[in-house]
């Protein structure tokens, strides 16, 4: 049990008759970057709130750092970091004052707090913004401040709920470098994101849909086991039309424009030449189809289309 930082079994949460999280089980080993993926409304944030002890569990059980999520929320919250989608900062306090305030909430004070704040200001590149009021800070700076705030008490595990939502491509990379550093230092990171390129860097991924766990594994596992077919691409200048047309060809799923190509999944047993032939018959021009490397976005799309019982 020692090396499992999170261990949940049949975790369930109901809101009235609606089952938001439905018998979900997973484990996270210490030091892992654990990606928690799924469509909007799949139950990701609800699960995280249960892990933090903020939201009562309807059924099932779970432990975070060995503490029972049903009975030990105080102990858990003292040891975990949490960056929510809509984090709250004190708008009339400066960046530095916010950090000192939240540090105090976590029981830090004096030289230890000063040192920790300095360390985090440097790590999240907030230097230069220390004296600015939280109000009116650009989104990316707020996001960095929120990350710093969640790390003040040296948590053993951090829950990052869409930390890179509105973050620009350069800053997203910066965030993921910090996540990799935390993991290398033995901290555990559970992260949700809708950017399928960045979650390629997770060690392990859980995919949930309609509150149910649909797939789990490394990015490589998911691509090899949860893609029902082979990815192909054609080059064309009429991408929207070609994608719309391909979507109607038997055996083709998830046709979508990507860069200068249209990518699509071809289910097993279908002739790879058929989609291009169908396009030519309808007067659309494109290159000969070529196999494409699968991405996690392809897996996400395939798993989202699986119609389990909602």
């Amino acid at each position: 049990m020692s090396d499992l930082v999170v261990d949940v079994r049949d975790l369930t949460r109901r809101f009235g008759s609606f089952v938001a999280v439905d018998r979900v089980s997973f484990q996270i080993p210490r030091g892992a970057i654990f990606g928690f993926l799924g469509p909007n409304g799949a139950g990701k944030s609800t699960t995280i709130r249960m892990l933090l002890g903020i939201l009562p569990v309807s059924e099932g059980e779970g432990h975070v750092l060995g503490f029972d999520i049903r009975t030990s929320s105080e102990e858990i919250r003292a040891r975990v970091g949490y960056m929510s989608q809509r984090f709250s900062l004190y708008e009339d306090l400066t960046v530095l004052e916010n950090l000192h305030f939240f540090g105090g909430v976590f029981g830090l004070s004096g030289a230890r707090l000063d040192q920790k704040v300095r360390e985090l200001v440097e790590m999240t590149r907030l230097d230069g913004f220390e004296q600015q009021l939280a109000q009116g800070l650009p989104g990316g700076i707020r996001q960095r401040l929120a990350l710093a705030t969640s790390l003040l008490h040296d948590p053993e595990i951090v829950f990052l709920d869409e930390p890179t939502g509105a973050v620009d491509p350069a800053l997203r990379r910066y965030f993921w470098e910090r996540i990799a550093e935390l993991s290398a230092a033995g901290r555990t990171v559970m992260v949700t994101s809708h950017y399928m390129d960045e979650v390629e860097r997770c060690h392990d991924i859980c995919f949930i849909h309609h509150g149910r766990l649909m797939a789990q594994g490394s990015p490589g596992d998911l691509k090899s086991r949860h893609l029902p077919g082979q990815m192909w691409q054609v080059r064309t200048s009429a991408r929207a039309e070609v994608a719309a047309h391909l979507a109607r060809v038997p055996g083709v799923a998830g046709a979508f424009p990507s860069g200068e190509t249209v990518r699509y999944l071809l289910e097993p047993g279908f002739d790879p030449a058929a989609p291009a032939a169908a396009l030519r018959t309808s007067g659309l021009t494109c290159s000969a189809p070529e196999p494409a490397e699968p991405t996690l976005e392809d897996v996400f799309v395939a798993l989202s289309r699986k119609r389990g019982t909602p």
């Binding site: 909007n40 491509p169 809708h194 399928m196 390129d197 860097r201 996690l296 996400f300």
Partner: protein, 306 residues
Amino acid sequence: MADEAVRVRGLRKRYAAGVEALCGLNLSVQTAQVYGVVGPDGAGKTTLMKVLAGVLSFQAEEAQVLGRPVPDGLAQVRHHIGYLPQRFSLYGDLTVAENLDFYAALYPPDPEGGRTRQDLLEMIGLEAFRDRMAADLSGGMKQKLALLCNLVHRPRLLLMDEPTVGVDPVSRREFWTLVFELQRGGLTVLASTPYMDEAEQFDRVALLSEGTLVREGTPAEIRASVPGVVLELVCEQPFQAARCLEGSPGIQDVQLFGDRLHLFAAQDAPDLRQALEQRLGQAGLQVHRLRVVPFSIEDVFLRLTT
């Protein structure tokens, strides 16, 4: 010009604190174009949207939307414009369907054809949630509902500030499929986005940085607008590999792309690749593949703004 849905010349915006958010911007969006605005935090994307929506004062030699001057002429074309700010207000204590009805009542839809509210709900995957209170929707679903509220009156111009942030990959595809379909019916779209894969599908893209237009053109023009080559490296441990390769002779920059790295160089050469493989080998990092790939908009973004 009648076929310009948006036209600004010399657009400036200075905030009270003395920050110049826009420094003399020129921009034209043709009717029925899907036009994208990208750029780092603080580039001025949101300011531009607010100016065009008429909710922020500014200085400009010229600023027109649907042929009317901003802000004085906006009242005449308001009902043809949809504006989706980053934080769109939904009524939390109304259901999904009631929110749509409310916005439809505010801005009555053109009765001529088009999609019904029911169609829109189904298309964007909100049909199952039509009777849920907006306050109880997940973040991404709220965003989808906000989009729909801006489509019920069938606008001619849609201004959207990062509309797909927090929206899952499948819904994001459905959303853009819907937008491109509306475009074929004549809708003009000006949208900002942090998703470079979305920008690749737009008709034209403006790359802003610190209030200035850094690049403007079709995605192909943007991709071709920086010199040098991109080498794609597929290897074990990309984070370590990135650190190992920083400062390598001949390499201008190293950036993570998913599970791989992009290395920017002035030119490709066999001895450059050999040196890189050697350097990684010495660090115990195995190279699976190293090859030249075409520039993407994300590559250009990173080259020009970091």
